[in-house]
């Protein structure tokens, strides 16, 4: 015993070759193997969920890019369209277009009795006249002629054609009658019905009718809102980060500020929405639903993220660069401005883009300031009413018509594409400017 104490290392000679040691080694390998398997299971589960999510969205959403259309021979009677005879499109009777569409439909099925016409009318979209009117507006020479045009079918017909409503269901359980199905088949046989690309989805704004509803208004709203956010949050965030990182004395007070900024990043976004409601709308009396206010609220929310990312980027600039500049006789501000900030910029931009991507998907605070308004036109300015992409998705998800189900998924796909693009840019920037010193 005593010589073990005297020389504990020598006494252990051969220790690593004993049976006990080998057993320990085997156990260690087993533990590592187990841990690896846990990891693989976790990743498989995560990827599985993601694939399931994307698959669901895709399956629900792809059909939204197609719209069932019906070809009709419409007689554009100037006496009906332009009853005042001024020739000025502003004086046109917009409602008359829908009547012309109906007349054309009756002509297509001449033997349908007056009593059945109501059912026949339900084949075509109740807003088909709007599409027709837009076409005539674009090409006024059509006036007075009989033209053949493709007009959107009604939502139930659209859903049947795309197979989103099962036509084998008993008649009582589906929104389309057997009679309408027969008409539809006739149209298809004659080649007067097909699915066309749904460009409306990309060019129109919100509407009560799924075939007339589009994303454009909310995309513009999102762009306006994000622009406000960027203009406010980037300079303020970077200035705050530069001050805290490069100039502020390190003391209790700046520690407190740092802790608070980190905590702010974790505050639920709805709280910022309430703040915006109380301060910007109620106290300052700013307009509801405006991209300006939305941008300001989201800027408040993005600030902590941008400050934290910018500080990390500034910290990553090696001190030797600062020493070099200071040693050359640059002042502290010049050092930061000439050297540190440019080197930190890729990191700052990466953080900013990620913050913007977050901001793009933000919904709750915008609901608080009324950005869930029903807006049928893209905003014309920062103060006009507007929606944004995620809020539009939220509104559509709530709409009763069948057509909005696929629109919701399609809108989610567009939102995801925007997000992936933004994150892709962030990754590209990070890779491109990685460690240049």
């Amino acid at each position: 015993m005593t010589d073990i104490v005297a020389n504990p290392i020598a006494a252990n000679t051969g220790f690593h070759r004993t049976e006990a040691a080998e057993k320990r080694l085997r156990r260690r390998y087993a533990a590592e193997q187990r841990f690896k398997i846990y990891g693989i299971i976790a990743i498989t589960l995560a990827i599985g969920m993601l694939v399931l999510l994307l698959f669901t969205i895709l399956r629900n959403g792809v059909t939204a890019f197609q719209q069932t259309a019906i070809q009709l021979e419409v007689t554009l009677d100037p006496a009906v369209i332009d009853p005042k005879g001024t020739g000025n499109p502003a004086d046109w009777d917009r409602a008359a277009f829908q009547d012309l569409v109906h007349d054309a439909l009756y002509k297509e099925f001449p033997d349908v009795s007056r009593g059945d016409r109501r059912e026949l009318r339900r084949m075509i979209s109740p807003v088909a006249g709007v599409f027709l009117g837009n076409q005539v507006l674009k090409d006024p020479s059509m006036l007075g002629q009989t033209v053949s045009v493709w007009l959107p079918a009604s939502d139930p017909i659209n859903q049947i054609v795309k197979g989103r409503i099962d036509r084998e269901l008993p008649e009582a359980n589906r929104p389309v009658s057997d009679q309408q199905l027969a008409w539809l088949d006739q149209l298809r046989e004659r080649g007067d019905s097909k699915t066309i690309f749904n460009s409306t989805f990309f060019t129109a704004s919100d509407s009560n009718y799924p075939e007339l509803a589009g994303l454009w208004g909310s995309v513009v709203g999102s762009i306006f809102t994000l622009a406000v956010t960027l203009v406010l949050a980037l300079p303020i965030g970077v200035a705050a980060a530069v001050y805290l990182e490069e100039f502020a004395p390190k003391n209790k007070f700046t520690d407190l500020i740092e802790v608070n900024i980190n905590n702010l990043a974790a505050v639920p976004s709805i709280v910022f929405g309430l703040l915006g409601l109380a301060v910007f709308l109620n106290f300052f009396g700013m307009p509801r639903s405006a991209p300006l206010v939305g941008g300001m609220v989201i800027a408040l929310m993005s600030l902590p993220t941008i400050i934290i990312a910018s500080r990390a980027a500034l910290k990553a600039v090696p001190p030797s660069i600062r020493e070099a500049a200071l040693g050359m006789g640059a002042s502290k501000l010049q050092t930061v401005w000439h050297h540190v900030l440019p080197l930190a910029m890729p990191g700052i931009l990466t953080g900013t883009i990620i913050a913007m991507a977050q901001a793009l998907g933000e919904t709750a605070p915008l609901l608080m300031i009324g950005m869930n308004a029903f807006v049928t036109a893209p905003p014309t300015g920062l103060l006009s009413s507007s929606s944004v992409l995620p809020v539009q998705i939220y509104i559509w998800a709530d709409a009763p018509e069948r057509g909005f189900v696929e629109l919701t998924s399609a809108a989610i796909m567009i939102l995801l594409i925007f997000l992936i693009t933004m994150n892709g840019i962030a990754i590209y920037l990070r890779k491109k400017f990685e460690r240049r010193w």
Binding site: M328, A330, L343
Partner: protein, 270 residues
Amino acid sequence: MEAMTMSQTVDPGAAAAGKIVKMSSRGTKVFYGEKRALHGIDVDIYRNEVLALIGPSGCGKSTFLRTLNRMNDTIDICRVEGKLMLDDQDIYDPKLDVVQLRARVGMVFQKPNPFPKSIYENIIYGPKLHGLATRKDEFDAIVEASLQRAGLWNEVKDRLLEPGTGLSGGQQQRLCIARAIAVSPEVILMDEPCSALDPIATAHIEELIDELRENFTIVIVTHNMQQAARVSQRTAFFHLGDLVEVGETEDIFTNPRDERTQGYITGRYG
């Protein structure tokens, strides 16, 4: 004790030889927070001479060097006491402009630290900052002259617009020296400028230091005894925050007065 250190460290022979004092330090104490890193340094630095600072690791060589152009200001907890003069100007005079001081007292660091910009921009950064030149041809002249002085011109004259960080370590260090002399400083401080370099690059820089002595006053920290012996006219030996001994390099190496100096240069510790 204090008085004795003082009489030991101020080199009596030099003043008699009619040399001009460029910088001087009297009773310089440096504190990092509560901890004292230098215990009162008295030394003169003569014009057109190379002063080598040697001593074991952690004895305060870098700390002393950095007091000479107030690079210590960047460390929050660092405090300096004593009197440090550049010509007849008090370096720690609150009214003194640090920017101007650092233009007059340049610095080369242990690790080459060129800006991640082109070679050309590296050199003209200082002159631009201090308004030494304004026209393109003036800048061109400065770039060529500085790179010539630093012995780098022939190697880089065709790639001035390539990044300075793309040069080899030794070239980078010479670029840093060129960058330092581009602002026409009076004193150049070098903190182990060769520690990251191979023997050939080191020899190159040592030669350069010897040439630079004609126009500048140089203070160099080194761990390499041979280097100190080769490049310096005077050597100061630091130990645990004290300046133990300063004198003609030859005297220090052949005939040290203090046994700690003797121990260090003969390799017994450090």
